[in-house]
Every structure is written in structure tokens, then in C-alpha cells.
């Protein structure tokens, strides 16, 4: 059995799992954990989008 996601799906999964762990371990109460987890997830995605467009324009 294998799993072959697209690059973007792999990024989404990576960001999701890492954000959950960061949220739980870096904050003390539930509300702050959720907020920080969502923040990390958003930052992962924004960073990936920015890097992708940067590489797109470098290639041109």
C-alpha cells in the first residue's frame, strides 16, 4: 500500500500535523492552543505560497 499525494496535499498534511503539535506544546490553555495552532497552520501555508511564487518568477 502506498500513498502518493500531490505536492500541495503533502504540504497541507505536514502543516496540519506540525501545527497541532506546536499548538499543544507551546501554549498552556485550550483557547491559546487553538489560536496558536491555527496561526502556525496559516503561516505554513502563506510561506509555501510565497516560496512557490518566488520560485515561479525565478524560473521565468
Amino acid at each position: 500500500m502506498t500513498f502518493a499525494p500531490s505536492h500541495f496535499t503533502a504540504v497541507l498534511l505536514f502543516a496540519l500535523f506540525a501545527s497541532v503539535v506546536f499548538g499543544i506544546t507551546q501554549r498552556s490553555n485550550t483557547k491559546a492552543m487553538v489560536r496558536y495552532g491555527v496561526y502556525c497552520f496559516a503561516m505554513f501555508i502563506v510561506a509555501v505560497m510565497a516560496a512557490s511564487w518566488l520560485m515561479y518568477f525565478i524560473r521565468r
Binding site: 499525494p5 505536514f14 497541532v20 503539535v21 499543544i24
Partner: protein, 135 residues
């Protein structure tokens, strides 16, 4: 990364072996939290870290073996070892040989290594709860 945890003094300190949550949390993701009755956190950590590790293997990622020859291999091994029993089980089942012809195999390798590193963070967090450094 800035950590904004609340210091609880000795309030969170329990009885028993001080390093049990750290060791148990390393061996089984989330077990250190579950041991201290943080069931929700433990379950989420278990699901996240285990899923990441398993998906990495399903993507045909590589599990690093002990190797004193290459520094990058040693670092990869250290990261993989952070996954505790997941790594032992993967090696025992002869998984994680990697597949250079698959584009996502390299991502899989990173998934397994990062799962191990995240598990170390989770285990240290469980230890911090045990010693009362975190609520």
C-alpha cells in the same frame, strides 16, 4: 520559537518516577500527556505524530539506520529515533527502504524525521507538565 507557557511552580508535580512521562512520551506519542490525565492532548498528539510517521512510510520514505559514516544519515537517524517505538516497529517490519524513482518518497523521508522531532517536543512538554513548569 517563542514559548508562552504559564509557570505553575510545584503545583503540577505528582508522585512517582520523575522521568516516566518523558520516557513514555518518547516511546509512545502522547502517552506522557495521557499518563497525566491530559487525555485530549495525548490523543491529538498520538494521532498527529503517528499519522505523520505512517504517511511518511506510505509515501515510501526512508527510515535511517545507525550509520557512523555520513553526518546527514546520522542526523536523519537521530530524528527518526525520536519517534520511539514507531521507529522500532518500522525497522522490525523492514519498512522504510525509500524509493528513489517516486517523487514523493523524499517528502516521506521528511515526514518520518519530522514526526520523530515533533515527538521529542511532545515528550519534553509532558516532562514540563510533570515537573510543574507548565500547567
Amino acid at each position: 520559537m517563542a514559548s508562552k507557557v504559564e509557570v505553575a511552580g510545584s503545583k503540577g508535580a505528582g508522585v512517582g518516577f520523575l522521568y516516566l512521562p518523558l520516557i513514555l512520551g518518547w516511546l509512545v506519542p502522547g502517552a506522557g500527556h495521557a499518563l497525566q490525565k491530559r487525555w485530549g492532548r495525548g490523543a491529538l498528539l498520538f494521532i498527529s505524530i503517528t499519522s505523520m510517521f505512517v504517511l511518511g512510510l506510505l509515501m515510501q520514505g526512508k527510515l535511517y539506520a545507525p550509520n557512523a559514516g555520513d553526518v546527514l544519515d546520522m542526523l536523519g537517524f537521530a530524528g527518526d529515533l525520536g519517534a520511539g517505538l514507531l521507529y522500532v516497529a518500522g525497522r522490525a517490519m523492514d519498512l522504510g527502504h525509500g524509493a528513489v524513482q517516486v517523487a514523493t518518497a523524499d517528502y516521506g523521508t521528511k515526514f518520518t524525521v519530522v514526526a520523530g522531532l515533533l515527538n521529542v517536543i511532545a515528550a519534553v512538554d509532558a516532562h514540563n507538565i510533570r515537573i510543574g513548569r507548565k500547567v
